[in-house]
């Protein structure tokens, strides 16, 4: 999502770390790749074979000028008909909350990618919850700077919500991280309900690595 403040993109670090675990030269599709910032990092640092999809023309232009293979299009309507497992990894970085059908999309993506990495703003973050509780209005923050009527983020969720979605889809969670305000990422522990709740309150963002349940 282009609207997300870039210096807050510590999900990038987590994604890079996750992809570093890939031994071979990975083929990666970044959906909603913006100006290709993450993709460019992955191509230059990890030497992956990167592809991108982005809806905003000026951002596509920037990405193409960087030498990246980026297709302009809307993920809701323009996702090419890819073969199964054609990508080692598909990235949805701060994008899923802006898609029309997150569940259908997720089910589609775990088919075309060996792994899918999803990062999203956690709507269960205590500050957002407090905002709603105390002001009685839809929370607005640096990460989510829009009014309810003009936000592209039409499918916001909490970390717990996302776990439930994974259960409902045919998706295995390989790893899950909560990113705190200071940018630090911690592994989410789902076994303890209390701990999960606590971690969810203090996570600004979450990063999930998923794969199709076989």
């Amino acid at each position: 999502m282009k609207e997300v403040n870039l210096n807050q993109r510590s999900d990038y670090d987590v994604i890079i770390t996750l992809l570093r675990q890939q031994t071979k030269k990975a083929k990666v599709l970044d959906i909603g790749c913006g100006n290709g910032e993450l993709l460019y990092k992955l191509v230059t640092k990890l030497h992956i074979d990167g592809r991108g999809l982005e809806i905003d023309q000026s951002l596509v232009n920037e990405a193409v000028a960087r030498g990246l293979a980026v297709i302009q299009g809307d993920v809701n309507t323009d996702l090419p008909e890819y073969d199964e497992r054609i990508f080692d990894c598909v990235i949805l970085s701060q994008t899923i909350q802006a898609t029309l059908e997150p569940k259908i999309l997720l089910e589609k993506l775990v088919k075309i990618g060996q792994y899918v990495i999803v990062s999203f703003p956690n709507f269960g973050y205590w500050k957002l919850a407090t905002y709603l509780l105390l002001r009685g209005r839809m929370p607005i923050s640096k990460t989510l700077p829009f009014e309810w009527y003009n936000t592209p983020n039409i499918h916001l969720c909490t970390i717990k919500d996302f776990f439930n979605l994974c259960d409902e889809c045919n998706v295995d969670i390989v790893q899950a991280y909560a990113i705190k305000k200071n940018g630090k990422a911690i592994i989410i522990n789902r076994d303890s309900t209390m701990l999960l709740h606590w971690q969810g309150l203090f996570a600004k963002q979450a990063v999930f690595m998923l794969k199709e349940k076989v």
């Binding site: 596509v60 232009n61 193409v64 000028a65 297709i71 302009q72 299009g73 323009d78 090419p80």
Partner: protein, 372 residues
């Protein structure tokens, strides 16, 4: 105005055409700009559109107008002739010096006329490749072109994938649509209906089917513009008059404009050439020619593509370009697709489109860096 050289390439080899017929000999007229580097790695081939020619970035010798793509080709421009060696070839079947229906048939010593064999986009590209061989260029840095030029770009990538690093097809399609064919047919019939056409032998009568060709150009010109442009540029404005004349003069500015486009076109273009080139576009269908899907044609291609289209282009709609881009993406090819928001119609690729300029520049530079 900057330095360019005009050349004629005369092929020693005959060319077997897609139709099965054979051209025993042919020449190609071409212009070059800039210098070929020692490694011969900085060559960019520009393919012109239907009524374009090799004068891409120099004053046209007939019309004295600036080159058709001077906005983009030249020193310091997006395709910088201080860095790149630019080649632009008048296509086979054309009328600016390359062998076409207005050339002399060596077998009869008469002007070919309709005895000229039908040439296709693939034939044009095969001939261009002979010229590129002659120049000693193993691998073109980039092949770029719009509309019919874009078809040639796709054909290059499909037929000679090892001969180019990057391909930029603009405002084009992998096959001519029925609507495209329909408009071309109207144009051709206008030429053929002109009494001066004489079954294609008009030169022998010292005349030319100017009226028919002008009508063909007028029809075609409408297809190059969007309704928005017509509305904005002309509206229902009257041409140098305050009221309607209640006759068939060019009362409206749009009529006057089209008449001017038609009349000025016939001075620089051969009517038979127009028939042959429009036919070449009509016949273009990569899927049919290769007898397999677009995905399969480009499977495993190492060529890097940047597909560009314009939102306001209804003649070669964005959806066609998107289809190509998706087929390439599906095939695992390095492809970028940029849809430029422009209401100028099909002609947008010839006009001042800064977004397009910056994309082309950035893409070529990136391709160059990665390879070196």
């Amino acid at each position: 105005m900057h330095d360019f050289e005009s050349h004629i390439f005369a092929s020693d080899n005959s060319l077997v055409l897609q139709s099965g017929e054979k051209l025993e000999s042919y020449v190609l007229a071409y212009n070059t700009y800039g210098k070929l580097n020692r490694k011969k790695s900085n060559a960019i081939l520009i393919c012109h559109a239907l009524t374009g020619d090799q004068h891409v970035a120099n004053q046209h010798p007939v019309t004295h107008k600036p080159g058709w793509w001077e906005k983009i080709v030249g020193p310091g421009k997006a395709i910088d002739t201080q860095i790149y060696f630019v080649i632009c070839i008048n296509c086979l079947g054309g009328c600016q010096g390359s062998t076409g229906p207005a050339s002399i048939d060596p077998a009869t010593q008469r002007i070919y006329g309709l005895n000229f064999p039908i040439v296709t986009i693939a034939d044009m590209v095969h001939a261009q490749c002979q010229l590129v061989n002659y120049l000693g260029i193993e691998k073109l840095l980039c092949v770029i072109g719009g509309s019919m030029g874009g078809m040639q770009v796709l054909q290059w990538a499909a037929s000679y994938p090892e001969r180019l690093r990057a391909a930029i097809p603009i405002a084009t399609s992998s096959r001519h649509t029925p609507q495209n064919i329909a408009f071309h047919e109207v144009g051709r019939q206008a030429v053929i209906a002109d009494n001066h056409w004489h079954a294609g032998r008009y030169q022998e009568y010292n005349v030319s089917p100017k009226k028919g060709l002008a009508v063909a150009r007028m029809v075609a010109h409408v297809t190059y513009l969007s309704e928005d442009v017509l509305q904005e540029k002309f509206g229902r404005n009257l041409q140098e008059r305050t009221d309607l004349t209640y006759g068939f003069d060019a009362d409206f500015q749009i009529e006057s404009y089209l008449r001017h486009q038609g009349v000025s076109f016939v001075d620089r273009f051969d009517a038979n050439s127009y028939l042959y080139l429009t036919r070449a576009m009509d016949y273009f269908d990569l899927v049919k020619d290769f007898n397999c899907s677009l995905n399969a044609i480009f499977k495993q291609s190492q060529v890097k593509f940047c597909v560009i289209s314009f939102t306001g282009d209804w003649l070669f709609p964005s959806s066609e370009s998107k289809k190509i881009a998706h087929a390439l993406a599906f095939s695992g090819v390095h492809v970028s697709f940029v849809e430029i928001d422009s209401e100028k119609g099909h002609d947008a690729f010839l006009l001042n489109e800064p977004e397009m300029f910056s994309v082309i520049k950035g893409f070529i530079v990136a391709c160059e860096e990665k390879e070196s």
